[in-house]
C-alpha cells in the first residue's frame, strides 16, 4: 500500500512540475535518483494532491444531484416580479413575460446554480469562510440557523459602512475577511442594492447572489437568477447551500483520513 501510494505520488509530481525527475522519459537511468528525494517530498505532495484532486473533475462533489428542475419549479423559483419592476440587465435571464409577470428561465438557472454550488463546495473543501447575507427580515432567522448548522457565518442585520473595507480599524489588525459571500437576496429594500456587493468587489471577495428580476446582476461573480421573495424558495436555497457545504467538509475530512494513513504507515 505504501508502494502504491509512492508511485501515485510520483505520478502526481510528474503532472504538477515540469522540472521532473524524468521517470518516464529515460526510465532506468533516473531510477536511483528518485528514492533519495521521495520521503521529503511525499508530505508536501499529499497536501498538494488533496488540493488539486478535486479540481480535476468538473463536478467532484456531485452537486448537480442535489437539485432537479422539478424541485426548482415546485419551489416557485421561476416567478419574477411585474414587468414594470424589471431590471434591464436581467432580460437575458428571463424566459418571458406572461400577463405582465416575468418568468425566469429555469434552464439557465439550473446551470448557474450548479456553478455556484460547485464553487461553494470547493471553497468549503479548502476551509474558506463563507458569509451569508440577506436583508429580508422575513427570512433572517432561517438564514442564521442555516449558517449555524453548516458551521459558517451570517450577517442579516444592519450593515455598517466599513465592515469589509475598513475591517482593520473596526475589528483590529489582521482580521480574516470572508472567502466567499452568498447573497440570498441582493436588495436592501426595493430601491437599493446591498452595499456589500460593491464592497466585496472592492476587496476581491467572490460573491454568489440569488438575483430576482428587479436586481442588478453586474458586480456579482456567480449570479443565480431566481425568485427571492417566497418562503418556500428561500428554504430550498438554504437547504441546498447547507447540504453542499456539509458535503464538501465531510469530503475533506474523508480525504485527510485517507491520505493521513499513508505517510504514517511508510
Amino acid at each position: 500500500m505504501a508502494a502504491r501510494a509512492l508511485t501515485k505520488g510520483l505520478l502526481g509530481l510528474r503532472q504538477s512540475r515540469t522540472v521532473a525527475v524524468g521517470y518516464s522519459i529515460a526510465g532506468h537511468q533516473y531510477s536511483t535518483a528518485a528514492p533519495i528525494k521521495a520521503p521529503r517530498l511525499q508530505v508536501d505532495d499529499v497536501s498538494e494532491k488533496l488540493l488539486t484532486l478535486p479540481l480535476e473533475k468538473p463536478d467532484f462533489f456531485r452537486v448537480s444531484e442535489l437539485f432537479s428542475l422539478k424541485d426548482l419549479f415546485d419551489a416557485r423559483v421561476h416567478l419574477g416580479h411585474k414587468r414594470g419592476c424589471r431590471h434591464r440587465l436581467m432580460e437575458p435571464y428571463l424566459y418571458g413575460c406572461r400577463l405582465d409577470h416575468d418568468i425566469i428561465d429555469l434552464d439557465q438557472t439550473m446551470e448557474h446554480l450548479q456553478l455556484a454550488l460547485n464553487f461553494t463546495a470547493h471553497i468549503a473543501y479548502r476551509g474558506g469562510i463563507i458569509l451569508f447575507i440577506s436583508r429580508r427580515r422575513q427570512f433572517c432567522h432561517l438564514i442564521e440557523t442555516t449558517a449555524k448548522e453548516c458551521g459558517e457565518y451570517a450577517h442579516t442585520r444592519y450593515w455598517q459602512g466599513g465592515l469589509l473595507t475598513n475591517a482593520n480599524i473596526q475589528y483590529g489588525p489582521g482580521v480574516r475577511l470572508p472567502d466567499l459571500i452568498v447573497f440570498l437576496s441582493t436588495l436592501n429594500n426595493v430601491f437599493q442594492q446591498h452595499v456589500a456587493i460593491r464592497d466585496a468587489a472592492k476587496m476581491n471577495i467572490p460573491t454568489i447572489g440569488m438575483v430576482d428580476s428587479n436586481c442588478n446582476p453586474s458586480l456579482i461573480t456567480y449570479p443565480v437568477p431566481g425568485n427571492d421573495d417566497t418562503p418556500i424558495t428561500m428554504e430550498l436555497y438554504c437547504r441546498l447551500f447547507k447540504m453542499t457545504i456539509n458535503r464538501a467538509k465531510d469530503k475533506r475530512r474523508q480525504m485527510e483520513l485517507l491520505h493521513g494513513l499513508s505517510p504514517s504507515s511508510s
Binding site: 428542475l69 422539478k70 419549479f73 416567478l79 428587479n214
Partner: protein
C-alpha cells in the same frame, strides 16, 4: 399546497372525462375489429389514439422510476401545465390558500403565487388559526405602481385578495346531509 390541490382537481377532471369516453365506446370497438383493414376515421380513429395514449401513460408510470420521468418533462411543458398559467388573469379567480401567520387581526395567507396576501379576520365567525385553509377571490398577484419621477415600479411585495371564508370540510357537509336525510326518513 394550493397549487397541488388545483392540479389534482384538473387531473381528476381529465381522467374522469377519458373514462367516460372509453366506457361509452367499448361496443363500437367490438364491431370495428373485423373491419380493421380499412383506414379508420372520425370516432374510431379518435378512440384508437386515446387508448394508445392511455397505454403509453400507464407504461410510463409502471416502467420508469420517478427521477427519470421528471427529467423528461421540460421547463416549457411544466410551465404550460402549471395552475398559475392555466388560471389566466388573476382578477376575480377563486383559489384556496393556507394561513401561515396570524398577527392580531391580520391573516397572512399563501395561495401558491409568488407573494402572500393579507386579509382581516372575518367579523362574524370564530377566529381563524394558523394552518386553516380558506377560499380567496384574487384581485392582483403583486401590488405595484409607477410613481411620478421613478425609474421603476414600486412594489408592496404582497398580493391582494378578498377572503370568502374557510373551506368547509367534506365530513361536516356529509354529516349535515345525513342528518337532513335522517330527519326526512323519520317524517316519512
Amino acid at each position: 399546497m394550493a397549487t397541488l390541490c388545483m392540479s389534482r382537481l384538473s387531473r381528476l377532471r381529465f381522467t374522469s372525462g377519458l373514462r367516460g369516453f372509453c366506457s361509452g365506446s367499448s361496443g363500437a370497438s367490438g364491431s370495428d375489429q373485423p373491419a380493421s383493414q380499412t383506414p379508420k376515421s372520425g370516432f374510431a380513429a379518435a378512440f384508437e389514439m386515446q387508448s394508445e395514449l392511455r397505454r403509453e401513460a400507464e407504461s410510463a408510470t409502471a416502467g420508469r422510476t420517478g427521477p427519470s420521468a421528471g427529467q423528461e418533462e421540460s421547463f416549457a411543458s411544466m410551465l404550460r401545465r402549471s395552475p398559475l398559467m392555466q388560471m389566466g388573469p388573476a382578477k376575480d379567480k377563486v383559489v384556496v390558500g393556507r394561513i401561515f401567520h396570524v398577527v392580531q387581526d391580520d391573516l397572512y395567507i399563501d395561495f401558491g403565487g409568488k407573494f402572500h396576501c393579507v386579509c382581516r379576520q372575518p367579523p362574524n365567525s370564530e377566529k381563524l388559526q394558523r394552518g386553516t385553509r380558506v377560499r380567496l377571490r384574487l384581485q392582483d398577484l403583486e401590488l405595484t405602481a409607477r410613481f411620478l419621477g421613478a425609474q421603476s415600479d414600486t412594489t408592496l411585495l404582497e398580493a391582494q385578495a378578498v377572503m370568502l371564508g374557510p373551506i368547509e370540510s367534506r365530513d361536516a357537509r356529509d354529516s349535515q346531509a345525513r342528518k337532513a336525510e335522517g330527519k326526512s326518513h323519520e317524517d316519512v
